[in-house]
């Protein structure tokens, strides 16, 4: 049984419809891409792509060893980085459980005059890799045995590809 010309025409029509709407939606999304991105990376902010004086979201890795906690309040200060540029972040409040150095975070707030990002909300980002604690321990031991380079940072950069992808 051959495919009837009428049906073939209909099939092509449907494919055409799909292609047409894809192009329209694709163009709309492309033109909106600045608004669809949930956060600005430190590089975006350094290049002036992020609006100033407005509430925005900034995202990046918490730099190892950058976390400072105030002793008398919930105030914290840390540096987020995309391994190209750094942004200082101030935050007062309770941090999510997954917040730690070397972890991706997204902070919402405003840039102040001194170039410090004052956040009123901090969300923790986690990657798609899951493992039991014993495996992590074994990995760390193997890593420590083989070399003492700062591998965690290189690994973190790999696990956090959205920065490169957005370029």
């Amino acid at each position: 049984m051959l495919m009837h010309p009428k049906r073939r025409k209909k099939l092509l029509l449907i494919l055409g419809l799909l292609a047409g709407t894809s192009i329209i939606v694709g163009l709309v999304l492309y033109s909106l891409s600045q608004n669809i991105n949930l956060f600005f990376s430190p590089t975006d902010m350094a290049q002036g792509k992020a609006p100033t004086g407005q509430r925005i979201r900034a995202g990046g890795m918490v730099r190892d060893g950058s976390l400072e906690r105030a002793t008398d309040s919930l105030k914290v200060r840390f540096v987020i980085t995309d391994f190209v540029e750094d942004v200082k972040v101030d935050y007062t409040g309770i941090l999510p459980d997954l917040f730690r150095e070397g972890q991706g975070i997204v902070a919402q707030g405003k840039m102040n005059d001194e170039g410090v990002f004052v956040a009123d909300e901090v969300l923790a980002k986690h990657d798609e890799n899951y493992m039991p604690p014993e495996v992590l321990q074994a990995l760390n031991e193997a890593q420590a045995a083989s070399s003492n380079t700062t591998k965690t940072e290189a690994q973190s950069a790999k696990d956090y590809p959205s920065q490169e992808a957005s370029k």
Binding site: M1, L18, I36, F39, E121, Y130, E134, Q163
Partner: protein, 255 residues
């Protein structure tokens, strides 16, 4: 263009026959029930109770065994619905429209489960139930699309016209599927990348991955089972009084 001589296989046209689909579906149904039950039970018990906890998230990552299958199926079901609708439009197959109609409710349910479990998972890990990032927003749009398809399908009482209208909406709506899938790669999102892929190697050790694989497969069988059951029920409704049905052992009671 006129040189195309696409030949559809025989089973494709057989699928269009209500009698054939009813009988074939009846044969598959018990096996689908068994497979869905076994895979989902094993996968859920293994994943929720026995798989090791995550090094970072502890036990809260276990909601993945509900969230990931529901999210995968919410997209697969929509795609299946659109393909069935397109077949209905092109070959004027009533059965295809019935299959598309059977997909709506189960797909919307999977989407809702994915959104709710995602919110429950988001609070302890991210620190928020909901964030307007691209992945979450496009999945919410998917739920609205299901609602639209459902409303359109219910609003038109003439089955053939309802089938056509729903098919077109479903086909146009499939644009959202690649957007959901690639949202985590195209844009900055809070949602992590996909941990389940046919081509890449798993992002977790096998004692965490295998239960996930079982629940995903089980969900596919559950979806198949629901579609078979609902489509066969629609065949019974529309073929009311057809001679093959009157003589069928399900109706006449003869063994």
């Amino acid at each position: 263009m006129a040189q195309f001589n696409w030949r559809m296989p025989r089973w494709f046209h057989q699928m269009g026959s209500p009698k054939w689909f009813y009988n074939f579906g009846g044969l598959l149904q018990p096996w689908f029930t068994l497979a869905a039950f076994l895979l989902l039970t094993c996968g859920m018990v293994w994943g929720l109770a026995f798989a090791p906890a995550d090094y970072q998230q502890g036990n809260s990552f276990r909601i993945m065994y509900v969230h990931v299958p529901a999210a995968i199926l919410s997209q697969s079901v929509f795609l299946s619905m659109a393909i069935a609708g397109a077949i209905g439009l092109i070959w004027k197959m009533k059965i295809a429209f019935m299959v598309a109609r059977s997909c709506i409710a189960i797909g919307a349910t999977f989407t809702l489960i994915a959104l709710v479990t995602g919110a429950i998972w988001g609070k302890p890990t991210w620190g928020a139930y909901w964030v307007w990032d691209a992945r979450l927003t496009s999945t919410l749009v998917l739920l609205f699309l299901y609602a639209g398809v459902m409303a359109l399908n219910q609003a038109i009482s003439e089955r053939q016209i309802a089938g056509k209208a729903t098919a077109i909406l479903a086909i146009v709506g499939t644009i959202n599927i690649p957007i959901i899938k690639y949202s985590v790669e195209w844009w900055n999102t809070l949602h992590q990348s996909s941990s389940f892929s046919l081509t890449d190697k798993p992002t977790m050790p096998s004692e965490m991955y295998l239960p996930l694989l079982l629940t995903v497969l089980g969900s596919y069988f559950l979806f198949g089972l629901v579609v078979l059951t609902r489509t066969r029920a629609q065949i019974l409704q529309t073929q009311n009084g057809a001679s093959w049905l009157m003589q069928h052992k399900d109706i006449s009671g003869a063994k």
